[in-house]
Structures are given as C-alpha cells and as structure tokens.
C-alpha cells in the first residue's frame, strides 16, 4: 500500500510470504524447497481450506463417535456403499488418517512459519525502535517544527514520547518511538495457542476416560471398571485406579410440557442421588441434572438420558417367584414408547418376553399399541411370551436388550395395566406387572485436557484480538539546523500515524507541515 512504505519495517519481512528457492539437484535442496513450500502462507491457506472441506462429510455421514446406532442403521440400509465408506474412514472422519494428515500438515506448516517469524520478531524487538529512514520528510504526514534550539526541542520531543508511552530510543540527532509491538506479539500468542489447544485435546484423548452406566431408582453403582455398561479409556489413562466413589439413585423426576405448544417436551430433570466419596465414608445427598453435573475427585458425572423400567414379577408353574426386578426399557420415540426384553433363565422351561411399555397407552388402529404422552398418565405393558431355550448357556455374551428366539416358541400375547397378572397358557406360570421405576443413564468422565484447552482458547482469543486491533506505528524526530522533522509510518490494516504525528508536533512547538513535493511523489510511487 502506498501509505505504508516498507523501508521502516524491512527487518520484519514476512517469512510467510517468502519466495521458494529454485529447486537444485541434490536431495537436500529438494527437501529445503519442499519445506519452504510447506511453510509458505499459500500452502497454509490451502491446507486450512482443505481442513474445512474435509470436515463436511463428518456432518453428512453418521459418525461412530457421536451416533453409533445411526451408523449401524446406515450399514444395514446401504451394505455396498458402506464398504466404500468404511474404506475411506467416512464413519469416523475426525479420526481418519486423511483428516489427521491435513491438520498435522497444517500445524507443521504453522510451526515452520511461526518459529522463524518469532525469532525474527524477537530480534527486531530488541533492536527497535531503529534509526530513522534517510529522508524523513518523504514520508506522508510529516511535520517540520521550526526551533531556535533544536537540541532542546529534541529533548522535549523525547519527553513527549515518553509521556505518551512510546518505546523510545534516543541518539544525539534523533529520537525514535514505537507503539503497537503487541500486534505481532498477539499474532504469535494466537498461533502458539492453537498448538496448545491441539495438545490439550490430545492430552484429553490419551489421558482421559469415560464410562456410561444405567441406574434405576433405588439402584447404585461404585466407580470400578466392571460396573460400567460401556467404557472407553485413552492409551495413557490410569483405569486401574479410578476414584473410589459410589452413587445411588434415590429418585428421578421429569416434568413434561402439557400445554398445546411443544406438548410433550421435557421441562425439568431432577435426579436425587446419594454419593459417597469412598467405601465406608458417609454418603451425601445431592441433586443434579442437565447443565448441572456432579464433580467429585476430578471426575464429572453427567445426566445423559432417562426412561422407564417396568417392574416385573414372574412365577413358575408352582407359584415360586423366579424373577423380580425392574427391567430397563429403551425409549423408541418422543412419547417414550419403550421396548425391552425380559429373560427368565431360572424357570423350567426357560421363559423370555418381548415387551412394550407405554407411559400413556393408546391402541392405534394402524400403529397398534403406542404411547401418546411421555409422562406415565395411564401406563400399559404389552408382552409377548416365549418358552424354550434362551441360549444363555453357550457362554457367548448376549445383548440384554435383544431376545434370540431361534430356540424359543411364542406362547401368547397380552396387554396389562399396573397390578395385573397374566396367567401364562399351559401352566407355564404367571407374569405380574407390578409397576414401574424410572432409570437414568449417566456418563462419568475424566478429561485432563479440558482445563488446558480452555486456557489456550482464552489466550488464543486475546492474542487474535491484539493482532487484529492493535495499531502498530513508529515515529521519528530528527534534528536539522533550524528545525525538527516529525515523521512516521504505520503498519497493518486501518493503521495510520497522522494523528500521532500531529499531536507530537503540536506538543513540541508550532509546526508547519513539511512541504516537500518530491516527497509526495515518493509516496505515490
């Protein structure tokens, strides 16, 4: 830009913009050429845009990390396409090699650009503010202040600069001042903070862990690996030594919207728990919910989901109780039409049930039994009963939410209200729908990187704001025989130095703008 002569900032030539040296013949010069290409601003820019484009499939294709059920559904619906998706890692875009390659290259490019630039900036900072350019009056907006005693005026100028908080350097013939060093400092802070954020995310992934567990009212769990339904730990997570707290769910309450607008939407979740920091220590009552996790021993406990667990009592043909428990049913829709399975291995022959729990039950002409409101206003349970072999003896782990009916025979179908008992055909026993409990699904997680990520994100925002808003400028006061010339340059978008120059000139004497037509020409170059 014409108004920003480069001469005064020549020590600050942008290393990101440097020209790549022509490729030589040797391996070393090729490597050097590649490196300078990689660390050029243009490459960084293209990598940045690639990163943005590469993220798009992560929102279009279901991701294993955020929605594994949707991935399974997609694979079932599109078996052939899925193979290709799998090959390109499209079900886990953000952990895929090609996505990682882009951001690692980007950060490598960033480092290669940043380190020389930081070194250069530091050297420049030590030397600055440097001596004035040879002809100060050639700069735009320079002022010529007539002075009878130029040495005194220059001294006064130095005082003015110090008072105005410029970084000042003085020599017998000139005074130099600089402001806005934080523009580049902020730039450096911002980019190094991004590296910090990446490191913090990595720390969280490697050193953190998280587990999910389902608790029914009255039920509890203690924080050991075996008690979790699902658990994932980073490579360096210390999972043998989890904090020894234990948790018991006393009560869970939900309010649903009953007005016309958004009918059935949840309005409030309150989970009352008893929590004990270690075995033998007194338990404390605590209430938690969404947006309000429990923190204990550096671990956070989040409320993730909820549902209903119908209480079932099964008696065998002799009237002996062979099953008495609340069974977790999984919500299928917004009105909590919930599906579940009951397995009774202790009866002879074994019994199995598939069921639907409906908090507000209605029999729809087309859809069959369905719930029309999520609150338990008129709960109903529909069971289909099976006898035979549940297949539990094979030793293979079974999904508790699925019934393998290969060796089972369906013996009946029944809808029940709470308190009702269904006498199974052929004297196979009876099922009592005793009532229901609520269950919550809880996520327990430790993320050692989270605090660091937050810290670096804050420094990144501060740094970027400095680099965008701080105006960087230099001024010089140079003595001649009967006058002091006040001139300066500004660098960066929207920066200008004219106001500073006018203020300085006004402080040290009555000024006349330096009238140098040649100088104007020079500016227009």
């Amino acid at each position: 830009m014409a108004t920003e002569p480069e001469l005064a900032f020549s020590t600050h030539a942008d290393p990101m913009d440097r020209q790549a040296p022509p490729p030589g013949i040797g391996v070393r010069s090729w490597l050097r050429w590649l490196w300078s290409r990689l660390t050029s601003m243009r490459t960084a820019l293209i990598l940045l845009l690639l990163l943005g484009i590469a993220a798009i499939p992560g929102s279009l294709v279901p991701q294993r990390t955020s929605d594994p059920l949707a991935v399974n559904q997609f694979v079932a619906d599109n078996p052939e396409l899925s193979q290709w998706y799998e090959r390109f890692g499209l079900f886990d875009v953000f952990g895929s090699p090609w996505f990682s390659a882009i951001y690692l290259l980007l950060f490598l490019s960033l480092l290669g650009c940043l380190i020389p630039r930081a070194r250069q900036h530091y050297r420049m900072w030590q030397r600055s503010p440097g001596p004035p350019p040879s002809n100060l009056s050639r700069l735009p907006d320079s002022h010529l202040v007539a002075a009878s005693d130029v040495a005194a005026t220059l001294d006064e100028g130095e005082q003015v600069l110090r008072k105005q908080r410029w970084r000042v350097r003085r020599s017998p013939d000139w005074v130099a001042g600089e402001k806005g060093i934080w523009r580049e400092n902020g730039n450096q802070i911002f980019h190094f903070s991004l590296l910090g954020v990446l490191a913090a995310v990595g720390l969280g992934a490697l050193g953190g862990w998280q587990g999910n567990v389902v608790l029914t009212e009255g039920g509890g769990f203690s924080n050991t690996l075996t008690q979790y339904d699902t658990f994932t730990g980073g490579r360096f997570a210390n999972v043998d030594d989890l904090p020894p707290f234990s948790l018991q769910l006393q009560d869970f309450a939900v309010d649903f919207e009953r007005d016309e607008a958004q009918r059935g939407e949840p309005r409030d979740f309150r989970a009352e728990v008893l929590i004990s920091p270690a075995p033998g220590e007194p338990a404390q009552q605590q209430v938690f919910g969404v947006n309000d996790p429990i923190e204990i021993d550096g671990v956070k406990i989040f409320l993730i989901g909820h549902g209903y667990a119908p209480s079932i009592v099964v008696r065998d043909g002799d009237g002996e109780v062979v099953f008495d428990d609340s069974v977790v049913f999984i919500p299928q829709d917004g009105n909590f039409t919930s599906a579940g399975v009951i397995k009774v291995p202790d009866s002879e022959p074994q019994l199995g049930f598939r069921g639907l729990f409906l908090p507000t039950a209605v029999i729809d002409q087309e859809a069959g039994p369905i719930s029309v409101f999520p609150a338990p206003d008129s709960p109903g349970l529909f069971l289909s009963a099976f006898t035979g072999d549940l297949g539990l003896d094979s030793g293979e782990p079974q999904n508790v939410y699925e019934l393998d009916d290969t060796d089972l025979e369906q013996i009946g179908l029944q809808g029940m209200l709470p308190g009702e008992t269904w006498q199974l055909p052929d004297g196979a026993g009876s099922v009592e729908f005793a009532g229901y409990e609520r269950w919550i699904s809880v996520k327990v997680a430790r993320d050692p990187g989270g605090v660091w990520a937050l810290l670096f994100v804050v420094t990144a925002i501060v740094g970027m704001s400095l680099s965008l808003f701080v105006r960087r400028r230099r001024v010089w006061l140079v003595r001649s025989e009967d006058a002091v010339t006040v001139g300066g340059v500004a660098r960066g978008e929207g920066s200008e130095v004219a106001g500073d120059l006018a203020a300085i000139a006004a402080e040290i004497g009555t000024d006349t703008p330096a009238d140098d037509p040649a100088g104007q020409e020079g500016v227009n170059r």
Partner: protein
C-alpha cells in the same frame, strides 16, 4: 388472557416491521436507480475519512481537494439522496418495530426470546438490520439498503410462515445462562457476517467492472472497490474474535449439558467450518494472489456456510442441536 394479548402484540409488531421494511426496500431501490455517478460524493467522503490518502488516491490534483478548503455555498443535490434518506428513516422505524416484536416475544415467553427457530430468526433479522444501521451512523451506506433489506425480509418471511411456533418454556438442555451468552453472540456474528458477505458480493461486481454493461452501471452507483474491500475486512476483523468466543461459549455449555466440550455434532462441525473459512479470509488478505476477489469469495462462502449451519443443519440433520419447534 394477558399472555395471549402479548402474543398478538408481538406478532403484530413483527408484521408491521415487515410492512415498513418493504417500503424501505422500495425507497432504497428508487435511490439506487437514481444514483448515477457518485464519484464526487465518494471522493469527498474519502477526503473526510482519510485525508492523508487524498494525494495517493487522486494523484494530488488541486481541484478535488478544493471543496474541503472552501465548501461550496450551495451543494448540488446528489441524485437519489432523498429517497435514500427516506429508506434509512423507514429502516430505523422497522428496526424499532422489530425490536419491540422480539422484546414482547420474550415478555410473553418469560425468558430470553431464543428458544426456537422462529425466535432465532426474528432476532437474526434484527441483528442484520442492526449492523446495517450501526454502520450507517458512521458512514453513508444508503447504497447498501437495496441489497441487505431483501435478505432481512426473506429471513422474516421464512420465520413467520414456515418456522412460526407458539412461545413455550425451554427444554432442560437450553436452561442455562450460556443460552444468553452463546446464542446472543452467535446472532450478532450472523448479522455482521451477512453484512460483510453482501458487501463482498458488491465488491466482486465493482472490481474490474469494465466500461459498459450492468456491472459498469452498478459500479457507477457504488463506492469504489477498495472501500468495499476495506468495509468487509473491518467488519470481519471485528467479528472473527467474537465468533471464536461464541463457539467457545458453546463448547463450555456443551460440556455441562452433554458431558463433552466438542463432539463433532453437525452444528459444531459447521461452526468449525465457518471459523476455518473466516480464518482463511483473514490470511488470504495478506497472501499474494489471494487478495481481492478470492478473499471476497471467502467472505461470501463464510456467510453461506453460516446460514447453512443455521437453516440447513437445523432442518436437514438430526443432532443434539435439534430442538422442538425446530
């Protein structure tokens, strides 16, 4: 009963704001059509804003700097100025009406009016209009009205037809102070991104418009390319840290609501893409070969990505950001 009358009042305010905005749009269109060669006016403005640039901009010719030294006794009425002023006045009126509509909506719902897509949309429309009016306090942007107002009207039109829902209480995940912080900053950013995107589009029209054709005739009615470019940059340089903050605020909120601060939910993914595009814009402006048109395209893509994240992700994808009443 009282809440029903509040509902009617809010809707009436939004509709009257739209009506006034249509009038403003016509006034701006008339103003734009009447504008012919704003060269003199623009030069004068540049002279006022950046006096040190005048010699550089016009080669130091004496006659152009004259008005500054000796203001002419009877300034010539710039064509289209009057209808432009009418457009600005109507814009202010529609802003006040819309502000009232959003405010009453909040009073009706007894919470901040950012609980569903209808409410986000009318507040976003308010933000776009607000950024336009804010800039108009410092600069002459009457030429921009005819391009920006239709977008605001489109947003409002979608809001009242497709997205309208009755006010209701919030789902538990939204019941947080972060709703106020995260959503309000995101909406302000949306207003600024839209403003910058439209100006960048006009930059592309003006830059290299040639001597004849529609682009040349538009260019004659618009500020010069350098000024448009600078307007885009200033807006985005201000908005980028704010957008970063909005995303980070969302991440902090996500941590307490969902148990993780970043999970590549579709909304998060597109917020990240938006951030990347604007980061690229800021870097492009200081990279040889990327200044000018390419940077302007990035500003437009950024706007498109932002709006896709808002409408597209809410309506097409299912994710944690999908709430009732869309």
């Amino acid at each position: 009963m009282e809440s029903e009358s509040l509902a009617e009042l809010s809707n009436a305010l939004v509709y009257s704001s739209m009506f006034v905005m249509v009038l403003a749009m016509f006034a701006f269109a008339a103003s734009f059509a009447a504008r012919r060669s704003p060269a003199t006016a623009v030069t004068q403005e540049v002279a006022e804003q950046v006096p040190q640039q005048v010699p550089a901009a016009v080669g130091g010719s004496a006659d152009v700097t004259q008005p500054e030294a000796a203001p002419p006794p009877e300034p010539v009425e710039e064509p289209g100025r009057k209808s432009g002023n009418i457009g600005m006045a109507l814009s202010w009126l529609s802003f006040v009406l819309l502000f009232g509509g959003v405010l009453v909506r909040g009073l009706w719902a007894e919470r901040v009016p950012w609980g569903n897509m209808y409410e986000f949309s009318i507040t976003s429309a308010l933000a776009v209009l607000g950024v336009f009016l804010l800039v108009s306090l410092k600069r002459d942007v009457r030429w921009l009205g005819v391009f920006l107002i239709p977008l605001v009207l489109l947003t409002l039109g979608l809001a009242v037809t497709v997205l309208y829902t009755e006010a209701a209480q919030l789902v538990p995940a939204l019941q947080s102070t972060w709703l106020i912080i995260h959503v309000s900053t995101a909406i302000v950013c949306g207003g600024a991104f839209t403003y910058a995107g439209v100006v960048a589009g006009l930059y592309l029209v003006v830059n290299g418009a040639g001597e004849s054709g529609w682009r040349a005739s538009w260019a004659a009615r618009l500020p010069d390319a350098q000024r448009l470019d600078r307007m885009v940059y200033r807006t985005l340089a201000f908005t980028f840290p704010l957008w970063t903050f909005a995303v980070v605020a969302g991440a902090i909120w996500a941590e307490s609501a969902w148990g993780r601060y970043w999970g590549w939910d579709p909304k998060e993914t597109w917020a990240f893409i938006t951030w990347v595009v604007y980061a690229a814009y800021l870097h492009a402006r200081s990279t040889a070969g990327w200044k000018g048109s390419r940077a302007a395209w990035l500003a437009i893509i950024g706007m498109a990505v932002f709006w896709f994240n808002y409408f597209g992700v809410n309506l097409l994808f299912s994710g944690l950001h999908s709430y009732a009443g869309v």
